[in-house]
Point group: C2
């Protein structure tokens, strides 16, 4: 293979879409499956997902949420029970019509989401206030047929995600839960994935079809498009009524329960690739990197080897004792230069180079992936790598915030908006609250209301579109 | 609810099948989904699965196996590519024929197993000997339509499992891998689930349709029926040829690779329930118990509470510092007696009772779930709980081995076999090796060859059925 086959051959600026696809394939995160719209995760991609799920699992558990399993097949009749919700998904549903040679009477849907199934079960499990709150989460895959082109992690007909479903005795408790979850989402994405998000509400038009309201976190990608990073819905009693999720309160009176549902998907990995990657390949934030440090020993002969390898082992042990995920690349048939490129492509946050000369100088060379800076570190200071990783994590979030700010605008003139939206970006603009204006803006510019940030209430301004009194200042953008 | 609604109402001996179902439902491990053949896992059931998967994940990782993700949809044309394998699954396959309102040309199968899909990908990923061995594992669900009655964990149309798929440069290495995996399976099931297994080969008739040979581990259930606990297949080049899984060796000559596949499922949970459960409910081996110790504080008034609760907290902290999974049941509205029954039903290995009198005596009451023995333990000896849990684990395996031995017979007379098989059990009997005898025995008695134990070679005996020279002494039994 030539170098071109291995490395990224287009720049992020030049051809963002091709650059993204090359990173996914060449860093061996994922590959296309034989069926259009479907992808396979290779070990380096799946490891990132495993780290992410384990982080969420801890936070969910601390919030009293427990995991369960729901089957993937939902009878059509059940899916139709909440009709608005059904209409929203209908065209994307995969239908099972046969098992073996037998036709199935009531067609079975492959789960596009599990509200209807979960709440059928919940209505059996919940009898009294003692059974509440019921807070469950499901790590599974959802299926929604994608007609547009496949984009690994971003647009696939099957995607890995978690869907949480909670039930509460009071509206207040359910609404609090919606916000608690959104907070878990936000701090995980910002602190672990180093991606800044803006949280707020979706508009009526953009909310989850079965919800009373939807809260969301949105991020801006380097190409100026918005990506929905996760949503947390207040379902009110929209499902508890048709599905009879009822409980007897302490006074023995029956009430319909209050519910929430919420989810994030492997789309977060897609966002991470887009935000942090560069022309050399993937750049992983340390906290989510399956390998945080790679050590590349450098030597030409047995003499060098005998000097270098024992030190490499020593360093590996020190790092492991600090709970750093470290890998030693001792592949004999490859040159150090090849290995450097390889690990840069794979985005490992820190590379340690160590050869006979370093042994003499009693130090190693440290190469940081995110800014490609090299420095040296004395043998006695190896433990500082922990601090270096922390610093990288913080610096990456800072850089991402700066990038996002550059692409964010406050605007009130519709003509200015129309000219600027061509280049992408987040536009905070006053809005009257009417779906009509929202739809016209979408029609004329391709931009949606992505999020109405919390606290962006009445502004005494005029709607960017109709010039009537505005009620909020949403963020408009074109989306993925 | 009356006591009958809550507790198990039939004895294990009396009605084994009903007893099993009651445990699953009443211990809240699982419940029936709306579609026949499908079940839902509740948190207490799913936690056991999570513990089990984390144990396997560590062992797989130590063996150089990494996890990945495969989509659930496989095109019919791909599934047909290995024809024998296809015929074996055909009647159980769920077929997706529509997405939204559109008919799909090449029907899509819901994964009954992923050999065909995995190896299509592998053939793209593997070019040279440097890419080998490739060892991947996939935690997912498989779907095979069940026509017989649903039995949670044992007979369901969708089941959670892992499927491992490895590729090797040589036959020897692949065959070694088959055995390494079987060994991981065996020691996990025996040491963590406290279930004794017998390992060996499947007969030609009973092997995985796509394999050269299948190794298996089998256990005997308390009702005398055999349960297949896991299989590890040597695929030879049966798939590498049609799927073109080829590699250029060091001499640059292309070879077809050698492959293995292997799997265990949530069926292991079903076996654990059957083997260890009793008339009070579930009995969990400590190593696989999501909660290993439950502490029930006992007091009637505030004075008692003030005495008891601080000590409970102290004990909880000691146990947690020993990495014991502990839960304090401080539900106010329930009596201690109710709680005792509840935790016995749920199978928690050790219960600690502590009331004002125990505080005076400076000791707690320890109730072991598996033999329902009570003893007392001084406050200064709390750390011994670790040892007690270890002892329980060992004792449970010992008891299970004794049970299995009682139901195991060595036999050579077919008439004796026919009369004894009615009551169930494992029957070691000489066999000539001919499929014809195997089939006749199955027809006349309902018993299969479950496993040909390793090392059970030529015995100089006569085949139990045809009286010709035997070539091995398989275990015959009726199975699940």
């Amino acid at each position: 293979m030539t170098k071109e086959d291995i490395g990224i051959t287009v720049s992020k600026k030049e051809d963002f879409s091709e650059w993204y696809t090359q990173i996914v394939l060449k860093a061996k995160l994922a590959d296309y499956a034989p069926v259009k719209g479907l992808i396979v995760l290779r070990p380096d991609g799946y490891s990132i997902w495993e780290l992410l799920t384990s982080i969420f699992d801890k936070k969910f558990a601390n919030n009293g949420i427990r995991n369960g399993f729901l089957p993937i097949l939902i009878p059509e009749s059940l899916l139709r029970k909440e009709q608005k919700h059904f209409v929203g998904f209908n065209l994307e549903v995969f239908w099972v019509t046969h098992s073996g040679d037998n036709e199935i009477g009531d067609r079975l849907a492959l789960r596009p989401t599990s509200e209807t199934l979960a709440y059928t079960m919940y209505s059996k499990w919940i009898q009294s206030w003692r059974d509440l709150p019921l807070k469950m989460n499901f790590w599974n895959s959802a299926l929604r047929a994608e007609i547009k082109g496949t984009k690994p992690f971003l647009r696939t007909s099957e995607f890995l995600w978690q869907e949480g479903h909670t039930v509460h005795a009071t509206r207040e408790e359910a609404e609090e839960e919606v916000m608690k979850i959104l907070e878990i989402y936000k701090n995980t994405v910002e602190e672990e994935l180093a991606i800044p998000v803006i949280t707020g509400n979706k508009s009526e038009k953009e909310k989850f079809v079965g919800a009373v309201y939807t809260t969301t976190m949105e991020s801006i990608m380097p190409d100026g498009k918005a990506l929905q990073m996760g949503t947390s819905h207040f379902l009110g009693q929209n499902f508890s009524k048709p599905f009879e999720v009822k409980f007897a309160d302490k006074d023995n009176v029956e009430h319909f329960a209050w519910q929430t549902s919420w989810g994030v998907s492997w789309r977060l990995i897609g966002a991470m690739i887009m935000i942090h990657g560069d022309d050399q390949g993937l750049v992983l934030p340390p906290k989510i990197a399956p390998t945080q440090v790679v050590i590349v020993p450098i030597y030409k002969n047995d003499d060098g080897k005998d000097k270098v390898l024992p030190k490499v082992e020593e360093i590996r042990k020190i790092l492991e004792s600090k709970e750093i995920r470290v890998h030693v690349d001792d592949r004999r048939e490859l040159s150090p230069g090849y290995k450097f490129n390889d690990w840069e492509l794979k985005g490992v946050p820190v590379r340690i180079e160590i050869g006979p000369k370093d042994i003499e100088k009693q130090s190693v060379v440290i190469a940081k992936r995110y800014n490609r800076e090299k420095s040296s570190l004395g043998f006695t200071e190896i433990e500082k790598i922990s601090t270096i990783l922390d610093e990288i994590q913080i610096a990456m979030l800072k850089t991402a915030r700066e990038q996002a700010n550059v692409n964010s605008y406050v605007i009130s003139d519709y003509n200015e908006f129309k000219s600027k939206i061509e280049k992408g970006g987040f536009f905070s603009a006053p809005w009257c609250g009417k779906a009509e204006c929202e739809e016209k803006i979408k029609e004329e510019t391709g931009a949606d209301i992505r999020v109405i940030p919390f606290g962006s209430g009445n502004t005494n301004e005029k709607c960017m579109y109709c010039q009537e009194q505005s009620i909020s200042v949403p963020i408009f953008a074109r989306g993925y």
